[in-house]
Subunit: 222 residues, 4 copies
């Protein structure tokens, strides 16, 4: 067979085309899935909007589910890229934190549909499968751990376990972001940056609250 059949003749392959087309699909899919929700998304509509046929989508992604996963993945990569970029040339640790928070919030202000994708991902694929966002969070923990450890060592922050501090901070960001979209608040996330950082760094209290100030019967657990 091989002797008579040649591989090099015929229409030459456009090497870049598949990658470009793939990216186009991912971009359109992000808005599309966010707009309709995963289960209500008919790929025929997405194909129409892209000006291609349904079959073409299946050339690039083996199934609706795979397309969705790739779409979320793509967004998470963008988020990471923007936060990394914002932090790269910033030296002081606290400023680094501030810039990261600001970039994080700005990303969701500019790409609000991404929140929708996170919700959809969680809603559809809760069992077993990993959530792209939390995968990302885990993978990017390292540098922040170092940063907080440094702050702790230099006496800048109170003596709280580093992991706990990061976790509380992450949850605050995440909760703020999610809440905004769940509850339909109008103001931008970025505008909340200072309040969030202020609470995070300084707390709500004027003077430190200790167990003494709380009710008695729960004291033992604290």
């Amino acid at each position: 067979m091989t002797s008579t059949m040649r591989k090099t003749v015929g229409r030459p392959k456009d090497e870049g085309l598949p990658a470009r087309r793939r990216q186009e699909i991912l971009n359109a899919a992000a808005h599309f899935f966010a707009r309709l929700g995963y289960p209500n998304s008919d790929l025929r509509i997405l194909a129409d909007e892209l000006g291609v046929a349904k079959g073409t989508l299946y050339r690039y992604f083996p199934s609706k589910k795979d397309l969705f996963a790739a779409t979320v993945e793509n967004c998470v990569r963008q988020l990471k890229a923007e936060v990394d970029e914002a932090v790269t040339h910033v030296g002081p640790p606290l400023a680094k934190i501030e810039q990261a928070v600001r970039a994080y919030f700005r990303f969701f202000d500019q790409h609000p549909y991404v929140v929708e994708l996170f919700i959809q991902e969680r809603a559809e694929f809760r069992a077993g499968e990993k959530q792209a966002y939390f995968e990302h969070r885990r993978e990017n923990l390292g540098p922040w751990k170092e940063l907080f450890a440094e702050l702790s060592a230099s006496g800048k922050i109170r003596n709280v376990p580093v992991d706990r501090a990061i976790e509380v901070a992450s949850n605050l960001l995440y909760g703020t972001m999610f809440t905004k979209y769940f509850s339909g608040q109008e103001e931008t996330l970025e505008s909340k940056t200072n309040d969030v950082l202020d609470t995070l760094f300084n707390g709500l209290m004027l003077k430190e609250i200790t167990s003494e100030d709380l009710v008695v019967e729960t004291r033992k657990e604290i």
Copy 2:
């Protein structure tokens, strides 16, 4: 022998039956929807588990969507009841906050499937429709506003706008709760109560951080 006279003839109607059956359905539906996710929930299965025919569900709820909405509503009511109960007999404001947080966390530790419902609700009914959880949050704002205003007036907390303080606190709780379920953490929410309250009240910093400590180019926005 008018129709109104018949009321007392024959087997007396069990006035409470419909209400009880309704409640049974809601209880089963909560676990059911949480387990399978809204779009994957086949009402035939739910009916089977209830030992009831599918048609019966439609006697109590006009549609799958309505059943789901009522289910979430029901859970939110339970959450409110438990938090209110936990706070009722507590006097000191800070203790009140602590007890509320603890009850809130305990509720989700005991009824983790409710988180799933919130996610499903948001995922399916994002357009236009109100989210039961955030409806509840809005409706229950009043007493907390008073509490925080009181704390502020009595010089207990820093001079932060009351609404902002409540919002940040709410988001932290909400984000903590959500994150736990999204990321599959093992430890109970209740065990995080102290960390959360500590951060909320005292912040992360030893000494107060001001704008001076942050990077320059973002100052104008603060």
Copy 3:
């Protein structure tokens, strides 16, 4: 739940209906699959012809494949019933064979579509899955073995291994039946009964042919 929900109220079940409906579907499906071939059979069409909705078919059979398997199974059962019936009250062994062959051929004359089903079954489900017809053949071997053994013992047939004799006879019947449908012959199978039996019983030769009459170089193998 059980206490308030009763199983005995509501529309009473028509016990016989499901079985009747099932049989109706199987009858229609036999002609349908035979007419169009398994892969070209759209269950929507079958449903239309039956005057029911597609979903109804799926109430009775979990998938197209299952419906098809049940259809073939049903036909094989009918074939067996007719052959058994034809043989029941016949005593003499040779007459028994004759009647069986005749009934077998008559069945396919009257239900020619069944051949089509056998072909379709084999064509679609060749790997692994059992063929209903050959399952049937295996299961019904016993009585025929006894019959042939009896004939052999009473010196009625030449000294040929019983299994082989039955196999050759079966193959002749099967080949005759199949060939008729593959090649589109017009005459009935039943009209071939005597030729088939004559050849089977008496062979084609006037005097017995032995190895001596055949070519030399293949002798060793005989």
Copy 4:
């Protein structure tokens, strides 16, 4: 420089190439269709296995159906060639028959996938279209008719109509071959040659069976 003059200029066309490639495709297609069944055969896979693009297949055959028909046709031609070859130098009529049967069986032992193709052909193209195998059978009837007539004239075989004798013989061969593949028997077809010939020539009975030996009520039909 007319177009006709160019014939001798430049690289000479490989006249045989298209024919060879066509044959390569047919060979691969035979195994391919037999392996997957006609409807499950994706031409992309066949093209891949051939190391060729899908479009190329369409240069050689106008449609999937045509490719399949040509594939079967090709196999039938090979069968005929082998049987003819086996018989060519054999003189005695009975030996000729034996050799033909042996070659026929050997062919299917060596090319079992061909049986699959016959089944597929019949399963897919039952309406109207001719079956390649039976076309072949019809076309090759002539010489065998002569052979049987000769045997009959020389008193070698019983006084059975020649056409009938051939038909019964063909059906036995065909049924034996098909049955083997349908029922998954392990032993080779060639090993059955003697049993088949023995039954065909000598029948199963020791002494001739006549209508007298069969049941009464069917006598009139015989």
